[in-house]
Symmetry: C2
Subunit: 344 residues, 2 copies
DNA sequence: GCATTTTAGTTAAGCGCTTTCTTTACCTTT
DNA sequence: AAAGGTAAAGAAAGCGCTTAACTAAAATGC
C-alpha cells in the first residue's frame, strides 16, 4: 500500500525520472507535466522515502547529537535549543546520552555513522578523540559545542571557560573570600575554568593552596553535596564554594544547609551554566551564565554549513560567559578572614 | 573509500550473498567461510550501511519520540529513561519537541515516517489523533506514554491520572484545606487529574466551586506564577494550590513568596511529576510522583515487542502514582477555614 | 555404486530513489 | 527545406543491501 515514485509516475503517465526531477526541482521539466506530477503526488499523498534517496548519496536530514546526560538541565536545554534551530532547517536530531563513557561515545559514533546521519554535534566529554578524528578525516561533518578541545582541529562553538572561572573567582574575591573550595569533574572545560579561577586569585595575590580533587562519576546533585560536606568537615573549611555546574552547586547548598549553616551568610556558593534550576533553588544561585540558546543556534548553523560543503576552513567560535548575581553569594564575614586581615 | 559488502565479498572470495548471511546470521554457512568472512570484515572495518538494509525492509533501529518540550524536566527525564532502555536494544531515539502544536506533531510524524523509523513513542498532547490513527492503520508501531487517551485504541503506558488528582486532593483535604486553587493546562491527562481531584472533594462532602480556567501556552514556571498571583489577588483566595506539574507548582511557590506570604504556612502547594526540581525548590515540593523510570522502560519494551510483531492485541498499562510528602504542604491555619468550622 | 537428500554457496531480482546519457520532438536559422 | 540547436522526457545504471530460487558438491541410504 506504500505509494512509491513508480505509482506516481504511472498515474501521471511519465517516467520515474521525471517525477524525481519535479520532486527535487532539478533538470528541465515543462510547466504542464510539472503541475500534473505535483497534482498526482498530492492526490496519492506521496511521501518520498528518504532512505532510498540517502542511499543515492542524498542527505538524511538527520544530525547526531552526543551529550553526557539528557537528564542534566544544561544539556536538555542545550539540546532543545539545537533542536529548535534544526527544525527550521527541516532537520531532526538523534540524541544520545553517553554518561561520559568513552565506550558509549564511540559506539554511538559508529552506530550513527551506519545510519548515515549528515553530521555530528558533540557535547560529550571525548577524552579520547581518535574516532572523532577518523570521522573528520573521512569528511563527515563534526562540530563540537560547549566544550573546547583546543588541541584538536575541529569546528567548535565553545564558551570561554577560562573567563567563566575568572568571573566566578573575581566575584568571590571581591566579596572578600580567599579560601574557596572548588567542585568539578575532570573534563577539559573544567580544567580551563580552574585555570581562569586561579588566574583571578593570582591577580589578587592570593594562592589556590587548597588540596583539590576532581569528583568522579557524573556531575549531579549528590556528588556536589558529598564534596561540600567533605570540605566543611575537613580542616580549614572554605568560606565559599565554586561549583563547575549548577547541579553540583545545588548539592553544595544542600550540604551547607545540612551542616546547619546558611547560604550565603556562612558560605557563598557560585554555580556554572545558569540553567532553570539556578532560579529555583533557595537561595537563588549566583552562577556563571552560558549563552545556551546562542550556542545551540550557532552550532547548528555551523554544522549545516558544513553539511552543505561551505566553510571548509576550521573555525572556533568562542562565546563569552557572564556572571548572574543572585543570592547565594555574599560578603565574607568569616572570622578566618578577619583574623588574617587583622594580622596585616 | 567507504567499504561495502562488495569489498568484503571480493576480499573473502565469496559472493555478497554469503557475506550478507554471515552478517545477519541467516541461512547455512560453513564454519570455515564464516570465520573467513568475519575476519575480513574486521580487517576492513566493515560497517553495514543501515539505510541499504532498511530499504530492503529491515529495521532502522530508530524510534521516534515526540514530546511537548525537551526542556521540561519531566520530559527530559522521561526521554532519558526511554533512551537508556533503547540503548540496551541497540536502538536510537530521534527526539522531537512539539510545544503541544498539532501542526508540529503531524509534521514530525510524517517526516519520521519518511525516515522509516521503526516506531513511534508519543508523549505529546495529540488533541488531534487523525494522523496517528492513520499510522496505526498502516501497521506502524505506535505507543503512547504518560498520556492516556482512552478513546483511542492505541497501545499505552499511562499513569493513573485520576488517582493522581485524587491523591493530591486527599492530602490537602486531610490537612484541612477546602478552598483549593488548581493550575493546569488543558490536556486530557489534566482533565483526568481534575476529575480525581473533584472526586476526592466530593467524598469529603466538599465541592469544587472555584471558578477555574485552564492556562494556555506551555506549562512552565511563569504561567504557574501568573495564575497563582491571580488567585491570591482575587476574591476568596485559596489556602492551597494544586498544580498539575512541578514547573507550575514552582511558579506557584514563587508567586506566594512574592506576595509576601509563606509556603506552607500561609499557602500549601502540591505539584505533579516529582522531577528533580521538586527536591530543589524551597520548600521542597510535596508532589504526586510519576514512576518516570518505570514508564520509560515499559513503553520502550512495548514498542520493541510491537516492532518485532509480537503483541498484536492492544493493551493499556496503567501505572500508579504515589504522593511524595515534602514541606510545601501543611495544616490549614487559615482563618477562612476556622470561621467555617466555628459556624458548624 | 547409483539415486537421493543435505549442505554450502551463488545468481539475480529488487527495495525506492537519483542521475547521466539518450532520444524525440519542436524551433530556429539560412 | 535541410541543418543545426534546444527543450522535454525517458532509459537504464547503480546506491548497498536481502532473499528467494537455484546449483554444485558432499553426505547418506540401500
Amino acid at each position: 500500500m506504500k505509494v512509491t515514485i513508480y505509482d506516481v509516475a504511472k498515474e501521471a503517465n511519465v517516467s520515474i525520472a521525471t517525477v524525481s526531477k519535479v520532486i527535487n526541482n532539478t533538470g528541465r521539466i515543462g510547466e504542464k507535466t510539472k503541475r500534473k506530477v505535483l497534482e498526482v503526488m498530492k492526490q496519492l499523498d506521496y511521501q518520498p522515502n528518504m532512505m532510498a534517496s540517502a542511499l543515492m548519496g542524498k542527505q538524511t536530514k538527520t544530525i547526531g547529537l552526543l551529550i553526557p546526560d539528557l537528564a542534566n538541565p544544561f544539556f536538555s536545554e542545550l539540546a532543545r535549543s539545537i533542536e529548535d534551530r534544526a527544525h527550521e532547517f527541516g532537520y531532526n536530531l538523534v540524541i544520545c546520552s553517553t554518561d561520559y563513557q568513552t565506550e558509549k561515545e564511540n559506539k554511538y559514533l559508529a552506530l550513527l555513522k551506519r545510519k548515515s546521519v549528515d553530521g555530528f554535534i558533540l557535547a560529550s566529554g571525548f577524552e579520547d578523540l581518535n574516532k572523532v578524528e577518523e570521522l573528520v578525516k573521512e569528511d563527515v561533518p563534526v562540530a563540537i559545542v560547549a566544550r573546547d578541545l583546543p588541541m584538536f582541529s575541529i569546528n567548535t562553538v565553545a564558551l570561554d571557560d577560562f573567563m567563566g572561572g575568572y568571573l566566578a573567582a573575581s566575584h568571590l574575591i571581591e566579596l572578600g573570600h580567599q579560601n574557596i573550595g572548588v567542585i568539578a569533574r575532570d573534563v577539559w572545560s573544567n580544567r580551563e575554568r580552574l585555570r581562569g579561577f586561579k588566574q583571578a586569585l593570582e591577580e589578587s595575590n592570593l594562592e589556590f593552596t587548597r588540596e583539590f580533587e576532581y569528583i568522579n562519576g557524573i556531575s549531579h546533585v549528590e556528588p556536589g553535596k558529598f564534596m561540600t560536606a567533605k570540605y566543611l568537615k575537613g580542616k580549614n573549611p572554605p568560606t565559599a564554594i565554586f561549583a563547575c555546574n549548577d547541579l553540583l552547586a545545588i548539592g553544595a547548598i544542600q550540604a551547607v544547609k545540612e551542616q546547619g549553616m546558611r547560604v550565603p551568610d556562612d558560605i557563598s556558593v557560585v554555580g556554572f551554566d545558569n540553567t532553570l534550576i539556578a532560579t529555583i533553588v533557595e537561595p537563588p544561585l549566583t552562577t556563571v551564565a552560558q549563552p545556551i540558546q546562542h550556542m545551540g543556534r550557532e552550532v547548528l548553523d555551523l554544522i549545516i554549513s558544513m553539511i552543505k560543503g561551505e566553510k571548509k576552513e576550521k573555525m572556533r567560535l568562542t562565546l563569552l560567559p557572564s556572571l548572574v548575581t543572585r543570592n547565594s553569594t555574599a560578603k565574607n564575614r568569616n572570622k578566618d578572614l578577619k583574623e588574617k586581615l587583622e594580622n596585616l
